[in-house]
């Protein structure tokens, strides 16, 4: 019964595999840092640091005059209106689109032969068809929309609804496909029509997840509306950019506070909906439904988008003009070399931003996680502070962060990467804190009961549970970051976004189409790598 000394070992290949993966990630991050110029030496723009200092100091005294507060309120309503209408439209699009893009819809049981192959092809093309609207950032849709439809608020709503609708459709399709198939199958066996079976059998289960996701989308829409504001749609983002350009830092902080309050409000509402149980849940749901409806009505009245522009004569004219100006896409001269270089630069920006956001997110996740009734004051206060700080980081639109960093660093991909990294830290920090809040505490408790110390229980029971979820969220945000590089590029930070900005300014539509195509391809590749990695983690 005595233990023999170890001649048994875990297959070395498995251990090498995980170390290899870790080493690979480190190599990629270092390559990306080199690419954005982090090791370049002279990166700081010293005079600019003084301006940033002044900006930070102004936080203590935001602009509180009545006229400005009224302006802020009006801008807040505008931003919220865009977000609400955009989310409502994208949820409807996502619901319909999701059903028709799900495997559930395309692969009916019992079909065979050419029908099955055609159905398979149909599903693939539906998924691919979603890549285009998803790959183009809301800001670009907004700029495109302004060209075609003119300066109507409808542009802002569509700019959010189209890409978010495509994303929601993809997510909802995945929710439908991962829901248990048995209920719908049973209905089909009993003779129900295909769509009816899905609606009765799978939809009710999936709807809970979809509602939860819709709230997350609302949060994202607030941020998107702010970004659209920066490029001209009005609202808090617009005022923020205006105040920034005239260096009115006190006004900026009033506007930032408004953004933080709105974000915090949506966050609170969404958490209320998700954590209420029992009879309280139905009350919360009813109130939320009424509030949502009220918001939609107010938003429609406040913004007054003119839907008829979609089919007006001027729109058709503009589309025709754009089509002619943009075709054929020009790939001549040295454009291809530039395109590849800038694509790599964009990729490196996204990797650096992802590294910053992930490292920061992991560092704060445990502090930011909400405890339960038993946590003492010593834990609660830092937790609340960190959560507030994360809220601030993600409430300020990335173009504004980028403009601040452009004060501090010379123009190029580095300030853009830092801006995106900081902004996404705010998002990832919160997502990771939620993972920590929701993890299963029983294994750790069981280990403590048999004599393990707290630290040991953490290392053996908590970390192995949360680490894969952390990695999964980080990869998901990386997919989003590659699109967000456009927005920071448009204000001058580098990558394909900066090229796009200069092409739009010079009415070089042929170049614009090529650049957009490159962005879509890049998004698709990152999407692919990220999905593969996430599947390997599961």
């Amino acid at each position: 019964m005595a233990a023999t000394t170890g001649t048994v070992s875990i297959p070395a290949g498995r251990r090498r595999g995980s170390f290899g993966a870790l080493a690979g990630v480190v190599v990629v991050v270092v390559w990306a840092l080199a690419g954005v110029g982090a090791f370049g030496g002279d990166v700081f723009n010293r005079p600019g640091l003084a301006l940033v200092g002044r900006f930070l100091v102004a936080a203590a005294s935001p602009e509180l005059s009545p006229e400005f507060l009224r302006l802020t309120l009006d801008a807040t309503v505008t931003t919220v209106a865009y977000a609400v209408l955009g989310t409502a439209a994208s949820t409807v699009l996502g619901l319909l689109g999701g059903i028709f893009v799900s495997e559930l819809w395309w692969r009916r049981a019992g079909r065979s032969g050419w029908r099955r192959r055609a159905a398979g092809a149909g599903w693939v093309s539906a998924r691919v068809g979603l890549v285009l609207p998803r790959g183009i950032h809301e800001a670009v849709w907004g700029l495109f929309g302004v060209q075609v439809l003119g300066l109507d608020p409808l542009v802002g709503v569509l700019a959010i609804a189209i890409p978010f609708g495509a994303i929601t459709a993809k997510v909802f399709a995945e929710i439908l496909d991962e829901a248990p198939r048995a209920p719908a199958l049973a209905l089909h066996e009993a003779g129900a029509g295909h769509l009816a079976g899905i609606v009765y059998g799978t939809l009710p289960v999936a709807l809970g997840d979809l509602t939860s996701y819709a709230f997350y989308r609302l949060e994202c829409s607030i941020r998107a509306a702010a970004i659209l504001g920066v490029i001209g749609a009005g609202g808090l983002g617009f005022e923020l950019a205006l105040s920034f350009q005239t260096l009115r830092y006190h006004e900026m902080w009033t506007l930032i506070t408004a953004l933080v309050v709105v974000s915090g409000g949506v966050d609170f509402w969404s958490r209320r909906m998700r954590t209420s149980t029992g009879p309280a849940r139905r009350r919360v749901a009813k109130i939320s439904g009424a509030v949502a409806l009220g918001l939609v009505v107010i938003s429609m009245v406040h913004l007054a988008p003119d839907v008829s522009t979609l089919w007006s004569a001027r729109t058709r004219e503009q589309l025709g003009f754009l089509g002619a100006a943009a075709w054929p896409p020009d790939l001549g001269r040295n454009r291809f070399g530039d395109l590849v270089r800038l694509s790599l630069e964009t990729l490196q920006m996204s990797v650096v931003a992802a590294a910053i956001a992930t490292a920061g997110g992991v560092a704060v996740a445990f502090v930011a996680a909400r405890g339960d009734e038993r946590t003492g004051r010593g834990r609660r206060v830092p937790g609340a502070l960190v959560r507030a700080w994360l809220l601030l980081l993600r409430a300020v639109p990335p173009p504004v962060w980028a403009l601040l960093f452009l004060f501090m660093f010379f123009p190029g991909p580095l300030p853009g990467a830092l801006a995106l990294g900081l902004y996404n830290l705010g998002i990832l920090g919160r997502l990771m804190a939620e993972v920590v809040e929701n993890h299963d505490r029983r294994p750790a408790f069981a280990l403590a009961a048999q004599g393990a110390t707290k630290a040991q229980a953490y290392a053996y029971a908590v970390i192995p549970q949360v680490a894969p979820r952390f990695a999964s969220y980080a990869l998901y945000r990386w997919e989003v970051m590659i699109r967000e590089t456009v927005v920071v590029g448009l204000v001058g930070a580098g990558g394909l976004g900066r090229l796009l900005g200069s092409q739009l300014a010079g009415f070089d539509y042929q170049g614009v189409v090529v650049t957009l195509a490159a962005l879509v391809v890049l998004t698709f590749l990152v999407d692919l790598v990220s999905t593969l990695l996430r599947r390997a983690l599961r």
């Binding site: 019964m1 233990a3 023999t4 000394t5 170890g6 001649t7 048994v8 070992s9 875990i10 297959p11 498995r14 251990r15 029983r442 294994p443 408790f445 069981a446 280990l447 403590a448 009961a449 048999q450 004599g451 393990a452 110390t453 630290a455 040991q456 229980a457 290392a459 053996y460 029971a461 192995p464 549970q465 680490a467 894969p468």
Partner: protein
């Protein structure tokens, strides 16, 4: 008469001061109130070394609470609990950790760490003896592999060292939890409904394994069970719990079908 069990680690001392005579578990007039419910009501229980005690009773009788008193994860509202002669409420952190290391627990849901490989879950049984540094090192380069393999073989899972724990079936995970307890090498094992999630054949298998391993090492066993027949077959003492009170405390042969029925009867 049962011969006294060989002492494990440091021999416990009882009130009389003579080593080896103190009971493993001792509960005196223990009451536990959770919220407004009295879950256990003036329970008296003494378990000597080497006994195999089954705690049976209907749902809500307080079995889980009773067992949580025995592995020191819960303290009584009133009364006195002694584990291996020590009051868990009265000792410092280090001593409590050592005390906990001497009592192993098996749960209904096994409470293993799903994403970890079986070898790490099994080795986790040593955490009460390991320093943090050793524990972390073992996650990267698993230590004491031969012993882990040996105990896995004893529970019939030889060669499964390397798999992710959540890929195993429920019965297999329960056996990994058993192996972990073997690695821990405690004086006493507390098992809370260890086979409730298993089908009758697997349940019998796991109970036989548990009882056998415990008998081999002279370890004390307190197990709560739904299935009355398993209690009769594998234990030498049956405690009936109902409504937080001990209704009977007898040898298996003395538990008549009438007694058992009265225990599980639903009040109308």
């Amino acid at each position: 008469m049962r011969p006294p069990a060989p002492p494990r680690a440091a021999p416990p001392t009882g009130a009389s001061g003579r080593p080896g005579t103190a009971p493993v578990f001792s509960l005196r007039a223990v009451t536990v109130v959770l919220g407004t419910t009295k879950v256990l009501d003036r329970v008296e229980l003494t378990v000597e070394a080497g006994e195999r005690v089954a705690v049976i009773g209907p749902s809500g009788a307080g079995k889980t609470t009773l067992l949580s008193l025995l592995n020191s994860t819960r303290l009584p509202t009133e009364g006195e609990v002694r584990i291996l002669g020590t009051d868990p409420a009265a000792v410092g952190t280090r001593d409590l950790r050592r005390l906990r290391g001497r009592v192993g627990t098996i749960h209904q849901q096994s409470h293993l760490v799903g994403p970890l490989r079986v070898v790490h879950n099994v080795n986790a049984g040593r955490l009460h003896r390991w320093t943090l540094a050793r524990a972390l090192l073992s996650l990267a380069w698993p230590r004491d592999l031969a012993e882990a393999r040996h105990h896995l073989a004893r529970v019939g899972l030889a060669g499964r060292l390397d798999e992710r724990t959540d890929r195993l079936s429920g019965g297999e995970q329960q056996r990994v939890a058993l192996a972990r307890v073997l690695v821990q090498g405690p004086c006493a094992v507390v098992a809370d409904e260890p086979v409730a999630s298993l089908d009758p054949a697997r349940a019998e298998e796991v109970m036989a394994l548990l009882a056998g391993l415990v008998a081999e090492g002279g370890t004390t066993l307190v197990v709560s069970l739904h299935a009355f027949e398993l209690a009769l077959a594998h234990c030498d003492r049956v405690v009936g719990l109902r409504g937080g009170r001990v209704v009977f405390d007898l040898a298996p042969e003395e538990v008549t079908p009438q007694r058992a029925a009265a225990l599980y009867q639903i009040d109308r």
